[in-house]
Symmetry: C2
């Protein structure tokens, strides 16, 4: 990777030029111009995640600009670290830049990447820059320290567990909130020791899809969600007024909220976590599938309809 | 990342289905369907590198097929680990797959990625799959253990050091050798204790460019290369017969040989490394720039002309 300032410029050059103080204090050893970066974790165990964002799919370069793309690309990866209750530490970034505008786009991207990285103390330790005739692609790999008490998986939910989320959901596309993830690192690190969650995920695809992953991974369980308990974002209400889909369906299906969804045993569900707002949205049941329970007690099956990377357009 | 089998399929599903035995023996903990993979290094220090390959730039999907793209993508990253004398351990892969053919291309890609990974004992611990209307993009991030004696940087070359390479160079495009990197992991791990190299790099951009990186990083040094000592690959000779460029210029400039280039103090240069063929190609000098010394002793300046990711077409 890195250290190949091919052609006009190299992302690694800015990283190096602008962050000259990367060193042992940030857990970075050696020279970041080398073929690999050398990083140091707290323990021999580390957590790692990768997410790739493409123009037209996860952002619109013409409308949103490269800085927004970089900010989001770094943020969604940090959000995955949050879902493990970990501490984000190091990132590497690979980009395919549209030729001709490569330098301007690269600089904007870099600014966005670093703005998010700096918020969470993430060291950008390496990269690979390419130019081509295709659209902008940015791929971030994030490494971190696991929580000392262990990482909640997606596979640990049990029948009777209560399902909670960390914030209001839905309508993230309306005002560009999907470009500004707020990774719940602080919240996750407070939740982990306080509630010992049995399963956790970050809400990127939408509650119905992402909760579905927990249910699948936990052995084919089901969930009953209380319609009146779903925290509906103001954006979902506004979007509903435009498109006629109900606010709660936006909250359940829209995705890219980047809140946490997790399960805890019932005895833990009423415990407070200082400084963290939690919404209790339902419980795990043995019968597979997700049902939505109305105020009158009637439960109707919910089709998974979250964000689908394979769906055409945004 | 991972665990989002959005739409038709998920790379992570194959990884999981086909490599069910990933576990503590491979340094992998927890469930690879989680938001992050949990990996365990030998020490708290780790090395990390990333390289992104794009259709039309690093391979031609129509001509080479997806398996070749995957094989190369994994190989070039392992080659970066070799340049640090490290041990490759874990990889994550993010892909943008052309819609419509996404599943077939994804499966071919996965086969190639795993074929190279398996050769070097690399565990594919996570991924992010996307489909779009653009060309195939595959981004690999590789993590590994550093060599216990330390990683040679690019910045340690000194005046008087001898420059060596591990194999013949040039013409890698002619017969598709650029698609089949042979990462010099074994060689690097033998060289590290035997010769204690002062600087090392893998030859991806071409000897003139990559040696140039060592010279720049080492404080603006120069090099004199002996024309008759440059190991010229048979492909370079064959290509020269076609295009009229001399074989040695192909060897110096073509790139994507993925041999190692490194420097050692003169007293180490004549030591043998059991099982490793080494070619002594020149020495480090104080005068910046690279000169090519002919058999008659005349030295002419060499323009850096290696592979440039920003150059149009392949």
């Amino acid at each position: 990777m890195s250290g190949r300032p091919s052609g006009e410029f190299g992302l690694i050059e800015w990283i190096r030029g602008r962050r000259p103080r990367l060193g042992p204090d940030q857990g970075v050893e050696g020279d970041i111009g080398d073929d690999c970066a050398t990083v140091r974790f707290r323990d021999t165990a580390a957590i790692v995640t990768t997410d790739m964002l493409m123009d037209g799919r996860h952002f619109l370069l013409d409308r949103d600009g490269p800085e927004a793309a970089g900010y989001k690309a770094m943020g969604v990866n940090i959000s995955d670290i949050a879902a493990m209750c970990g501490s984000p530490r190091f990132a590497v970034v690979a980009v395919a830049l549209p030729r001709g505008e490569a330098e301007a786009i690269g600089r904007g991207l870099d600014a966005g990447l670093r703005r998010m990285a700096d918020r969470f103390g993430v060291a950008l330790v390496g990269g690979d820059t390419n130019a081509w005739d295709g659209p902008l692609v940015v791929s971030v790999t994030m490494m971190g320290d696991p929580h000392p008490l262990g990482s909640p998986s997606r596979a640990g939910a049990r029948v009777g567990d209560v399902i909670l989320v960390t914030g209001p959901l839905g309508g993230s596309l309306l005002r560009g909130r999907h470009l500004r993830p707020e990774p719940r690192i602080r919240e996750a690190q407070a939740i982990r020791p306080a509630l010992n969650p049995t399963a956790m995920i970050d809400l990127s695809d939408g509650l119905s899809s992402d909760l579905g992953h927990i249910l699948d991974e936990s052995g084919g369980l089901g969930a009953v969600l209380d319609e009146s308990a779903i925290p509906v974002h103001a954006d979902a209400v506004a979007l509903a007024a435009e498109d006629g889909v109900s606010p709660v369906m936006h909250a359940l299906n829209d995705g890219e909220d980047f809140e946490l969804c997790f399960t805890v045993p019932p005895e833990a569900a009423s415990r407070l976590v200082p400084g963290v707002t939690l919404h209790r949205v339902g419980e795990i049941v043995a019968e597979p599938g997700i049902c939505l329970r109305a105020a009158d007690g009637r439960a109707t099956p919910l089709r998974r309809g979250g964000f689908d990377h394979f769906r055409r357009g945004r």
